[in-house]
């Protein structure tokens, strides 16, 4: 399978799954169906996570096809710009959907402000994503290239390229973003270690899962810092982030997202009071979380050694 095929496979998730998520969410809000509200928030959050792999595979496809003479470069650039904006809104939606799920456990219902924010962001993201998908589809339809190419005009000064030029011209940007990426990873690691090692037995006499649950937003903050700084690297120099190792890192992040949902959605972890052991399955999921995030670090760290980074 080539990178272009992979992108063609993955690019259906953001639009299709997001439209299902929005449809269910609207129905659940009108019907005041609480479990359906949670299901739709889960769909929106996981789709946002999956969209990371979609966005990254688009870059692989672009780098793979860049040499082919019949590739409509202007259409690809226009699609890339549209996808970047859609991606950013989608991640924002995913963040607030996650926050809604997190707050749920504390309030027992979805906060009105959260429902409003998620709904507005989701609708905007869907519109932007449909536009990006439509522009991506044009790339495959050679019969309309000429008219479309004329319509998009010169797309060399895209959002992504301007950011790349800015980073190149300002030497402080890259090291600053790297430092923040390290701070974010430390914060994420701290929360993952404390929550998941407790599930494995460390400090169980004085720590319940319900208490440790309050730490999860700090882990999410660390992840958000790293998604933002990671995007700064990726968009500035996309050629560095092609190939298996980086894509695998993104797949592992999706697994990390699924992993944290286990602790947020299932009731079993909530029975783990002070002094109580977690079930064997919960221990397995906790151990997996530590493994997943160390593996994410491994893939990122090894990019300059075994990947395409310089």
């Amino acid at each position: 399978m080539t990178a272009a095929h992979l992108h063609l496979l993955l690019n259906h998730f953001p639009t299709v799954a997001f439209s299902i998520g929005i449809g269910l969410f609207v129905a659940a809000l009108f019907g005041k169906n609480h479990s359906l509200q949670r299901v739709s928030l889960v769909i929106l959050f996981l789709t946002a996570a999956l969209t990371i792999t979609t966005y990254v595979s688009g870059n692989d496809a672009q780098q793979e096809l860049i040499e082919s003479p019949d590739l409509p470069a202007a259409l690809v650039s226009a699609h890339e710009s549209a996808a970047l904006v859609a991606f950013l809104f989608m991640q924002l939606t995913g963040f607030f959907a996650w926050l809604g799920l997190w707050l749920w456990r504390r309030a027992g219902r979805l906060a009105a402000w959260n429902a409003g924010v998620v709904l507005i962001l989701a609708v905007i993201s869907f519109g932007l994503m449909a536009r990006a998908a439509n522009m991506g589809g044009d790339i495959r339809h050679t019969e309309i290239h000429e008219s479309k190419e004329a319509a998009v005009g010169d797309e060399t000064q895209t959002l992504a390229r301007s950011w790349g030029a800015y980073v190149e011209a300002h030497s402080w940007v890259w090291p600053s973003a790297e430092t923040l990426h390290f701070v974010g990873l430390s914060l994420l690691f701290g929360v993952v270690l404390i929550v998941d090692l407790r599930m494995l037995g460390i400090g169980k006499q004085s720590l319940s899962f319900a208490a440790l649950y309050q730490l999860l937003p700090l882990g999410m903050l660390g992840f958000t810092i790293n998604l933002a700084t990671g995007m700064m690297f990726f968009v500035a120099t996309p050629k560095q982030y092609t190939g298996f190792l980086f894509f695998f890192k993104m797949v592992l992040i999706v697994l990390g997202a699924i992993n944290v949902l286990y602790f947020m959605l299932l009731n079993e972890p909530w029975t783990i009071d002070e002094g109580r052991d977690a079930s064997n399955f919960t221990k397995l999921v906790a151990a997996a979380a530590i493994f997943i995030w160390i593996a994410v670090l491994f893939c990122g760290h090894m990019l300059p050694f075994f990947g395409n980074s310089f």
């Binding site: 030497s171 090291p175 790297e178 430092t179 390290f182 701070v183 990873l185 430390s186 914060l187 994420l188 690691f189 701290g190 929360v191 993952v192 270690l193 404390i194 090692l197 460390i202 400090g203 006499q205 004085s206 720590l207 319900a210 208490a211 440790l212 309050q214 730490l215 700090l218 160390i294 670090l297 491994f298 760290h301 090894m302 050694f305 075994f306």
Partner: protein, 164 residues
């Protein structure tokens, strides 16, 4: 100076620098980054808890995670010693290296003060935290961010950095 050069050009250091093995430079640096995540991550969670986040988490339980933190610390002391040895002449001539060491030393002293003054206080989870505890938590965060920043900048400033 001769002595330092001898270390830097020892067989082991040459191997670490030049081998493509995952157990040489790339793997040692990987362990150094994971260790950082353990030390700074656990310490930052304790700091943020003292500053008021996650109030239901009992601070008296936090000392149980010190072995995890110290594991990260000693892994980083060991890998850091190797990373210093392979580039010892330039590193010792780089002011940023000393800045990093000072930040780490102060952060560790700060951590010990948090342990004796805050975590070991028998009434710690029974009454509001003192202003002194919060100041210690805040300085701890600042010192670790300083250490990370100075460490990252080693690749950019002074002799031995890539940016020449």
């Amino acid at each position: 100076m001769d002595f330092l050069l001898k270390i830097q050009h020892s067989g082991f250091c040459e191997w670490v620098r030049q081998s493509d093995s995952i157990f040489s430079y790339s793997g040692i640096l990987l362990l150094h980054t994971i260790g950082m995540g353990f030390v700074v991550g656990v310490n930052a969670c304790i700091d943020l808890r003292i500053l008021g986040f996650a109030p239901a988490v009992r601070l008296s339980g936090m000392e149980k995670f010190f072995p995890v933190l110290w594991l990260g610390f000693w892994v980083n002391a060991a890998t850091g010693t190797i990373l210093l040895a392979i580039d010892v002449v330039d590193k010792l001539a780089n002011a940023d290296f000393y800045v990093k060491m000072v930040f780490i030393a102060l952060a560790i002293i700060n951590l010990r003060m948090i342990k004796t003054n805050v975590l070991r206080d028998p009434s710690i989870d029974k009454r509001p935290l003192s202003g002194k505890a919060k100041i210690l938590a805040l300085t701890s965060l600042i010192l670790w961010i300083g250490a990370i920043t100075a460490g990252r900048l080693l690749a950019y400033v002074g002799p031995g950095s890539g940016a020449k």
